[in-house]
Amino acid sequence: MTAAPRPLASDAVRRLTTDPGPWLSCDDCFRLVDRYVESLLGADPQPLAADLAAMPAHLAGCAACSEEAATLLVLAATDAGIDSDEALRRARLS
């Protein structure tokens, strides 16, 4: 079955043309995501470690990994008694 014609909305245009950044697989994102979210929760966040540098672009481009990372960040922040809002904004997660 062929899908019905669809409009290309402005949000789809933006997501299709997002800079994909350096390659990082979803498996590697999963391997690194616990360290990445904790790096965002420090009181004075440091520059990302070299092996975490591709995480922001991956999370900007992969809706599923982004959705899961946002949840993990909120869980880690809540357990630590930290407000997660600033870290979510910093990571551009929601």
Binding site: R6, P7, D34, A43, E67, T71, L75, D79, D83
Partner: protein, 222 residues
Amino acid sequence: MTEVRHDQFAARQTGTPPAGEDWIAELTSSGSVRDDALRRLHALLLRGARFQVSRMSALRAMVGAAQVEDIITLAADEAMVAVLTKLGTFEGRSRFTTWAYKFAVLQAAVELRRQAWSRREVPLDAAPALIEPRPSPDEYAEGAELAAAVRDAIDRVLTPHQRRIALALIVEEIPIDVLAERLGTNRNALYKSLHDTRSRLRAHLALEGYLAPTTRSPGEAR
């Protein structure tokens, strides 16, 4: 209190482990100590799975309440197996609880996406044709030319496979796990296709003058 906890994350970033994390020792011991640690771990994973599902309201509404509970329990059980299987790979570079949560979060998200889409048809033999949307005045002013250029580029520079994957994920908004299952592939492979598609579209649109060329630092992998 908050500053103390912030300091724990800061200490972790510098490689100093915070006190009070006995999970590995307890989970690898025996008897009542291990049994208690297993109970606490399962409770933690249930919490992680439940929280993930609670944040996916649109998909949660597509499955019944009883099924949601089944998904949470199944996700926690599967995450428990994954955590215990991979216990030896935990490097202590994050809190153990953060590391463990991610297995429950992944399992819950994947299972809810799968269940919510289980009765929905996913057209697999061809991507949809793209038609011109009816933009608002603002959208028209800001993006109509780019949208037309993207539509043209999708048809001209992408392979049929890239076009199908990109439109399924971005335009039809089929969850990547669901699409992977229907196509007999995995999340990595589909994301690689989307990554390559974006690179190809951006290169073409830069040549046509619609986007600034992408620049990378010399050591950055593509």
